[in-house]
């Protein structure tokens, strides 16, 4: 049974405490990730000197190269200097390109961000609208269509839908450019034109998931006792939906969107590869195959940070938007 909250201030204090704990957890996890990334890189077979200088270079040359880049120091020292460098914004020198890693990563991140942003701008309204619509007409044809197609779309891998989309629009109909390539120097409308094809697989995958969450949340709200109260008060249906239902049904959906970042990142990797788009995913893949450790580690860490920031935002949003958590919990 609910008890009267005697002090709203305690509620707010506990929210701050929770947030601090959450940020602490994020930082700790970030640290763990950096350790994993670094040491995984060490386990990868192959000697950087040999990889860079080629199979015909002399052993002495290789060893001197290795010494130059410092891979013969104890692991812990290497790790600490790496982390130290990172904190100063220095991500090291790429083995493959012999240039600083940082500008490459930053540009790549920017490209990926463009693609991701476009995807989100399309998915969020579409997914929510689809889910709410399906819930309002639950059990009927429109619901089954949206639900089933959403489900189907969300489990077809991005590269599969990508191939189909490329063949239809890029090869057969030739109305959209493939491969996407670089956006440098293109006008905004032209950039958008190039981004349409790669965005489609991302949208398909995420739409299903978001629509499903929105639908489930809305159905739960529609079946609730407070929805009944609202209707029996004599409120018009549109007001009931807008004011009473959506507020409660979209709360879980909004937080889910932020947690989709993981899938979005994975999708970006695949899509960039397929469309030859110079995003951070593609950068990491090529770094992995050419054993360019600094690039690889920096890239993965960057993605890790993005992911953790996104989930942190998700948690914060949920806590802040939920009155039960914001204003103190009942006994």
């Amino acid at each position: 049974m609910a008890r009267t909250v005697r002090n709203a201030a305690t509620g707010e204090a506990s929210v701050t405490r929770y947030l601090l704990r959450r940020i602490g957890l994020a930082i700790a996890t970030l640290w763990i990730l950096s350790v994993i990334v670094f040491f995984a890189g060490q386990v990868l077979p192959g000697d950087p000197g040999r990889a860079v200088l080629g199979p015909f270079a002399s052993r002495i040359a290789v060893r001197s190269f290795d010494h130059q880049i410092g891979v013969d120091r104890p692991l812990v020292t290497q790790y600490l200097s790496w982390v130290g460098g990172l904190l100063h914004g220095n991500m090291g020198i790429s083995y493959s390109f012999r240039t600083p890693v940082e500008p490459i990563i930053v540009t790549a991140l920017g490209n990926s961000a463009k693609l991701a942003a476009l995807a989100l701008v399309i998915i969020i309204p579409l997914g929510i609208a689809g889910g709410v619509l399906a819930a309002l007409y639950t059990g009927r044809a429109i619901d089954r269509t949206i639900s089933l197609s959403g489900l189907a779309a969300s489990t077809v891998p991005e590269f599969v839908s990508g191939i189909v989309v490329i063949i239809v629009f890029g090869v057969a109909l030739k109305i959209l450019p493939y491969p996407t390539g670089s956006l440098a120097g293109l006008s905004v409308p032209s950039q958008l034109d190039h981004l349409i094809l790669p965005v489609i697989p991302l949208v398909l995958v995420l739409f299903g998931y978001i629509a499903r969450m929105a639908r489930a949340g809305t159905i739960e709200a529609l079946d609730s006792d407070y929805a009944r109260t609202a209707v029996l008060k004599g409120l018009p249906r549109s007001v009931v939906i807008r004011r009473h239902i959506l507020r409660n049904s979209l709360l879980p959906t909004i937080t889910v969107i932020a947690t989709q970042t993981g899938y979005l990142i994975g999708g970006l990797v695949v899509v960039e590869q397929l469309f030859n788009y110079q995003g951070i995913g593609r950068q990491i893949l090529s770094a992995a195959s050419s054993k360019d450790f600094p690039m690889l580690e920096a890239g993965i860490l960057t993605i890790g940070i993005v992911y953790m920031v996104a989930t942190l935002i998700a948690d914060v949003l949920y806590t802040v938007l939920n009155p039960r958590l914001r204003v103190g919990v009942s006994g």
């Binding site: 609910a2 909250v5 109260t229 008060k233 409120l235 409660n248 006994g331």
Partner: protein, 689 residues
């Protein structure tokens, strides 16, 4: 069925004036898995202006369906298949769109069973009430002011602050008041209350019921009160209709129907409830044999025929019409004149257990305290409990939410760890507080029957497995001896062999509870804790289970710790009673003494709060405020914040009284001497309200 006097006997509505609600031959059907299931059959009744009508029925009677049909909020598979409804002259069944909205906004309002869930958790309470005024066309500011007025009218303290609160910050009682405020804001012609107090504590329930009665007197609203609780209906309603399996079997003025029931079902129902202080030594409760008809079953003839002891051939061939018995009193029974003489289905004579030994304790608790840690705060559920349970007796444990009665039971069972320093003894030897450290003989000795059989029985196991398990684990039986004991046990709880292969989902509530009881008795326990064993069951089934518990006690010579919020049932079954409030014992004594007085002011309030079919014999005590939170108990006597008999010397606020013997065998925790209490409470009895 037209005009008649209200309970207060003041007003008479002239015959022929339009009733506020007229329901005529209403049929409602649900479509489940392709089959049609009639939920309401040919129900007709009327409610006049300013009249309060009670619709009483057990689960499955269709009473909530009536409310939903009236407001057109049946689920998608529910359909009104016949009959007509008229509310204040308008027909909701033919309305849609704005006309229906208008009806809901201005003519009909509803109050629901679970107040916490009926409010939108994301919108402040005040705003939700103001919405009603906004629909009526007021602007936001005026609507908010009027909403605050309504909160004041429903006696919510500090309405300005409550306006800004979210629903989860309101207690159950306050939330229900807010909903009542919301419902009455539009001054509707008809107010429907569907089990409005079932989820509330007794003292809170009394306040809410008083509030509704008071408001009704001010406004010209008619009330449709739906409940399974006959006592509440008797207290609140002018007239009553008894619903059985979707049909109205009897109708009439409340006092008449409950005093001279004329339908065998009503008679049976009333016999299931312990009345006028009935105790187990006076005789067994009568139960109603058989089951309600299966949903969707086709019935020719009287719907009650298969359970009726007065059944004749005519009953099975043609459904009986409504026979008039008195002005406004009718019953659908061919034999309504002999209804009162309905033969009992359970013999009245009781097999009595041997009277409990006054000085032979089986359980001793000393200084029992339990503390919960919940998200940083400490909650003391029990404080310093000193209690003895005598061998062979039934000790009734009474208290509202927060009293700690469930915690006490769980501590006894070893499911909850008491604080260090608590002493538990069973049969003279120490009782390990941790269940895992109890040896098998102790596990056998103390068992429990839980409140909700759906939760207490593993729905994936068969009945056979459920009952055999304790025989295997505790009694160590196997093979033919196991089979023998199993058959024995099944017989003693009056189940049948064919039930053994079923799963709980296929059994009715009463049958499930019997399985739970069989399981509790399987190991041959010496103490059985009964935690609200009948609260989740229908009234007609409760009696059978109570009888069973009483019989088993006589046969197996067990001791019961009987927990219940239903005081009538506690009085029926218990030899002694202990009253808990906020984790402390307030009173312990023989059942009769505790009930008739003199008793603790809290007990007094509790007794006066509970509605009774037998009318109020004492002054209504109104407790102020809410039950305090266990996290911040009041100083001194924890009851002082609400005690109507608080001493003016202020000692109640500063010092906690000890639990002391005020008479032989009777202990109380109160600063007021018992002589004084006796005097004050006798005066109150002489001036009943």
């Amino acid at each position: 069925m037209t005009s008649q006097e209200t309970a207060a006997g003041e007003q008479e509505i002239p015959a022929g004036s339009e009733p506020t609600l007229r329901v005529a031959n209403l049929d409602v059907t649900y479509r489940v898995r392709g089959q049609n299931r009639p939920a309401i059959r040919n129900v007709s009744f009327q409610i006049g202006g300013r009249e309060s009508y009670g619709l009483v029925g057990e689960s499955g009677s269709g009473k909530s369906t009536v409310a939903l049909a009236l407001t057109r909020y049946l689920p998608r598979n529910g359909l009104v298949t016949g009959g007509s409804v008229s509310i204040a002259g308008k027909d909701p069944l033919s309305m849609s769109g704005s006309a229906l909205r208008d009806l809901r906004a201005r003519t009909v309002s509803m109050v629901y069973q679970e107040p916490g869930r009926a409010l939108n958790p994301s919108i402040r309470a005040g705003r939700q009430i103001a919405e009603v005024f906004e629909i009526a066309g007021l602007d936001r500011k005026t609507a908010a002011d009027r909403a605050e007025d309504m909160l004041r009218k429903v006696q919510i303290p500090d309405p300005g602050q409550v306006m800004d609160r979210y629903p989860h910050q309101l207690s159950g009682g306050m939330a229900q008041r807010a909903i009542i405020a919301m419902a009455l804001a539009a001054e509707p012609a008809l107010l429907i209350l569907d089990e409005p107090t079932t989820a509330l504590d007794a003292t809170v329930e009394a306040e809410v019921l008083d509030l509704v009665a008071g408001l009704r007197a001010d406004m010209a609203t008619s009330v449709l009160f739906i409940s399974h609780n006959l006592a509440v209906i008797a207290q609140m309603c002018d007239r009553v209709g008894v619903l059985y399996a979707g049909e109205l079997v009897e109708e009439g003025p409340a006092s008449v129907v409950f005093d001279q029931p004329s339908h065998p079902y009503t008679v049976g129902l009333l016999r299931c409830i312990p009345r006028r202080g009935q105790r187990k030594d006076h005789g067994r409760l009568d139960a109603i044999p058989g089951f309600q008809p299966a949903p969707g079953q086709d019935i020719t003839g009287c719907i009650y025929a298969e359970r009726c002891a007065l059944v004749i051939d005519e009953c099975r061939t043609a459904p009986p019409p409504a026979f008039g018995i008195g002005p406004d009193h009718a019953a659908r029974c061919y034999r309504h004149e002999e209804a009162a003489a309905l033969p009992r289905s359970t013999p009245a004579d009781a097999s009595l257990p041997s009277p409990p030994d006054a000085d032979d304790p089986i359980v001793t608790l000393r200084g029992l305290s339990t503390t919960y840690k919940n998200a940083g705060t400490e909650l003391t559920a029990l404080t310093g409990i000193d209690l003895t349970i005598m061998r062979g007796e039934t000790l009734g444990l009474v208290g509202e939410s927060g009293s700690g009665k469930t915690t006490l039971a769980r501590a006894l069972l070893g499911l909850v760890q008491p604080d260090p320093g608590s002493v538990l003894e069973f049969d003279g030897s120490p009782l390990p507080a941790d269940l895992r450290r109890r040896r098998r003989d102790l596990l056998r000795a103390v068992q429990i029957v839980f409140q909700n059989p759906d939760s207490a029985l593993n729905r994936r196991h068969t009945v056979r497995r459920l009952i055999s398990r304790p025989l295997v684990r505790l009694a160590g039986l196997s093979g033919s001896r196991l089979a023998e004991r199993l058959a024995d046990l099944v017989r003693s709880v009056r189940l049948e062999q064919r039930h053994l292969s079923l799963r709980p989902g296929q059994l009715s509530g009463g049958l499930k509870q019997r399985v739970a009881i069989a399981r509790a008795f399987g190991g041959g326990p010496r103490l059985v804790v009964c935690d609200e064993p009948t609260s989740a069951l229908d009234v007609s089934v409760q009696a059978a289970i109570l009888n069973l518990l009483a019989d088993l006690q006589a046969k197996e010579q067990v001791t019961y710790l009987f927990i219940s919020h239903d005081l009538g049932v506690v009085r029926y079954l218990s030899d002694r009673i202990a009253v808990l409030y906020l984790g402390r014992l307030m009173e312990v004594g023989p059942a009769e003494t505790v009930f008739s007085g003199p008793h603790h002011p809290y007990t007094e309030a509790l007794l006066s709060a509970v509605p009774s079919l037998d009318g109020q014999r004492r002054e209504r005590i109104r407790l102020q405020g809410e039950i305090p939170s266990a996290a911040t108990p009041p100083s001194g006597c924890v009851f002082h914040t609400r005690c109507p008999r608080k001493l003016s010397t202020g000692v109640c606020q500063t010092t906690e009284p000890p639990l002391a013997a005020v008479e032989p065998g009777h202990q109380m925790r109160c600063h007021i001497p018992i002589g004084e209490l006796r005097r004050l409470q006798e005066i109150a009895t002489l001036n009943p309200q």
